[in-house]
C-alpha cells in the first residue's frame, strides 16, 4: 500500500463497517465464554490469591471490580456478563467499547495467575475496539472526519497487532538454533503441563520435528505478507485457523487458538458477509 493509497483508504468512508462490527461482537462473545469456562478455576484462585487494592485513587476506581472480586467473585462475573450481553445486542459505540476495555483490564487483574497470551491479545484488541464505531456519532463534518479516520486507523492498528504477533514469534524462532534444528519440538514433547500425551511420542522423530519447526517458522513469517493480499488472504486465514487448532489439541491451548481465530475476523471485508448471505439466504429466496 503506497502512502497516497493509505491516505485514501483512511479517509474514504468507514472501511468494512459490517465486518468490523461482527469482529467486535465476536470478541465479546468469546470473552463471555472465557468467563464462563474460567469461573470454577477463578473461585478456587481467589481463595488463595489475594487481590490487592491499588494505591492511587484513579487505580482504586478503575480496578474496583477486581478488588471486590476477592470476596464477591461471582457477583463481579455476573455483572461483567450482564454488561457483555448488553454490548452484544446494542449497536457498538464508544461507551460500550470503553466499558469492554475496562472489563478486560479488570478480568486480567483478577485472573493474573491464570493468564496467558490470549489475555494479552484480548487487552490489545479491546483497546483498539473502543474506536471502532461506525454509527455516525457527531453532528459536525469535522468531527465526522475524525471519527472516520480514527475508525479506519484503529482497524488497521488491530490488524498490525495481529500481524506482529506472528512476526515477533516467527523472527524469534528463525533466530533460535533449537527451532532451526527442530530440537524445539523435542523440548515441547517434554512439557508435561502442556503436551497432549497422545502426541508426545510423535514429537521424538527428528525429521518430523525439523519439518514441523520450519512449517511453523514459514507460516508465521509469511502470514505477515500474505494476509494483506486479496488473492492469498482467505487461504492464509484458513491456514492460521488450522495452525491454531492443531496447537490447541496438541498443546492444550484452546483459549489462545480461539482468540487468534476470532481476531482474524478483523481482516475480512463486508463483501465476504454479502457473499455468505447470497449463498445461504439468496438461494432460499430463489427457491
Amino acid at each position: 500500500m503506497t502512502y497516497d493509497r493509505l491516505i485514501a483508504w483512511l479517509s474514504s468512508g468507514f472501511q468494512n463497517p459490517r465486518a468490523v462490527t461482527v469482529f467486535c461482537k465476536a470478541v465479546l462473545i468469546l470473552t463471555l465464554l472465557r468467563i464462563l469456562f474460567l469461573w470454577n478455576a477463578s473461585l478456587v484462585m481467589v481463595k488463595y490469591h489475594y487481590l490487592s487494592t491499588p494505591r492511587s485513587w484513579p487505580g482504586k476506581i478503575v480496578f474496583a471490580p477486581s478488588v471486590l472480586a476477592g470476596d464477591h467473585l461471582s457477583l463481579v462475573y455476573i455483572f461483567f456478563i450482564t454488561l457483555i450481553i448488553i454490548g452484544i445486542f446494542i449497536p457498538w459505540n464508544y461507551l460500550s467499547g470503553a466499558i469492554f476495555f475496562w472489563i478486560t483490564l479488570n478480568l486480567y487483574r483478577i485472573t493474573m495467575p491464570l493468564t496467558n497470551g490470549a489475555d494479552q491479545v484480548q487487552i490489545a484488541l479491546a483497546g483498539c475496539m473502543i474506536f471502532m464505531v461506525s454509527t455516525p456519532y457527531f453532528k459536525t463534518a469535522k468531527m465526522m472526519a475524525w471519527q472516520t479516520v480514527v475508525f479506519n486507523a484503529s482497524v488497521l492498528a488491530t490488524q498490525l497487532i495481529i500481524v506482529f504477533v506472528y512476526f515477533i514469534s516467527g523472527w524469534d524462532k528463525l533466530m533460535t538454533d533449537s527451532w532451526r534444528t527442530g530440537d524445539a519440538f523435542l523440548m515441547i514433547s517434554n512439557l508435561q503441563h502442556l503436551i497432549n500425551p497422545f502426541f508426545k511420542d510423535l514429537l521424538t522423530n527428528p525429521i518430523l520435528n525439523i519439518v514441523l519447526a520450519w512449517i511453523t517458522i514459514l507460516f508465521e513469517l509469511t502470514f505477515v505478507v500474505f494476509v494483506w493480499f486479496r488473492s492469498t488472504r482467505m487461504f492464509t486465514l484458513i491456514a492460521g485457523i488450522l495452525f491454531h487448532f492443531t496447537i490447541a489439541i496438541v498443546l492444550n491451548l484452546p483459549e489462545f487458538a480461539l482468540m487468534m481465530s476470532v481476531s482474524y475476523l478483523v481482516f475480512l471485508k463486508d463483501s465476504a458477509y454479502i457473499f455468505l448471505e447470497n449463498v445461504f439466504i439468496g438461494k432460499q429466496v430463489e427457491s
Binding site: Y3, L6, I7, A8, L10, S11, F37, L38, W39, A41, V44, M45, K47, Y48, H49, Y50, P113, L114, N116, G117, Q120, A124, G127, A141, K142, A145, W146, V149, V150, N152, L156, A157, L160, I161, F164, V165, F167, I168, S169, W171, D172, K173, T176, D177, S178, W179, T181, D183, A184, L186, M187, I188, N190, L191, Q192, H193, N196, P197, N252, E255
Partner: protein, 194 residues
C-alpha cells in the same frame, strides 16, 4: 461544492497525520523486534511501552520450552504412613483429557504452577529448611493451596514437596532431571498468618 471540497481537504489532512503515525509505528515495531537488545532506544520508556502493549510475544521461546517443571507432593496425616508421591499437575491433565469441557482442570494446574513458581522465586529459593520459608506470603499461599486445594484432608501434619526441572541439553541432545527444591514441613506450624 466548496464546503465538500474543503471537507475532503480536511479529512485528507487528518488521514495524513494518522498515516504518518502508522508508518512510524510499523517502523518502530520492526526495529524493536529485529534489533538486538543492546541497540539504542531499547532501554527507553517508549521501548517498554511497545514491548508491553504493541509487541505481543514471542511465544514458545527457547528458555520457556527447554525446562519442564514438575511438583511432586506426598503427605502424612497425624495418624498414618506417608502417602505415595503424586504429581497433581499430571492428574489434573488426565481429568481434562477424559472430559475436555473441564477446562478449569487445566487452569487449576496453571494456578498450582504459579504458586509454586512464586514460592520458589522468593529469596529462600535454595533453602530446604522450613524455618527459613515460614511465614513468607508466597510459601504460605502454596502451603494453603496444597493442603486445602489439592490434598483436601483435615489432619495433615506433614507435607513433602519435591520441585524438579527436566531440562533439555542441546549439546547432549538429551533431557536431564534436576531436583531444585526438596522441603518437608508441617502446614499447621509453618504459617502463623493462616
Amino acid at each position: 461544492m466548496n464546503s465538500s471540497g474543503s471537507h475532503d481537504v480536511y479529512i485528507r489532512k487528518v488521514a495524513a497525520c494518522f498515516a504518518w503515525i502508522i508508518v512510524i509505528h510499523v517502523l518502530a515495531c520492526i526495529y524493536f523486534t529485529i534489533t538486538p537488545k543492546y541497540y539504542p532506544l531499547h532501554r527507553t520508556a517508549i521501548a517498554l511501552l511497545y514491548k508491553r502493549v504493541f509487541l505481543i510475544g514471542p511465544f514458545y521461546t527457547e528458555h520457556r520450552i527447554s525446562i519442564s517443571p514438575s511438583l511432586y507432593i506426598r503427605y502424612k496425616e497425624s495418624v498414618g504412613e506417608w502417602s505415595p508421591f503424586v504429581d497433581y499437575g499430571a492428574d489434573l491433565h488426565r481429568q481434562y483429557y477424559n472430559a475436555p469441557w473441564q477446562y478449569d482442570k487445566l487452569k487449576q494446574d496453571d494456578l498450582m504452577r504459579h504458586f509454586m513458581r512464586e514460592a520458589f522465586n522468593t529469596k529462600w529459593k535454595h533453602s530446604h529448611d522450613p524455618a527459613e520459608v515460614s511465614n513468607t506470603k508466597q510459601f504460605c499461599t502454596l502451603s494453603a493451596f496444597v493442603t486445602d486445594g489439592l490434598i483436601g484432608k483435615e489432619n495433615v501434619d506433614s507435607i513433602h514437596l519435591i520441585y524438579s526441572f527436566s531440562a533439555f541439553s542441546s549439546e547432549q541432545s538429551a533431557f536431564k532431571v534436576d531436583t531444585v527444591w526438596n522441603i518437608t514441613f508441617n502446614p499447621k506450624q509453618i504459617c502463623d498468618i493462616r
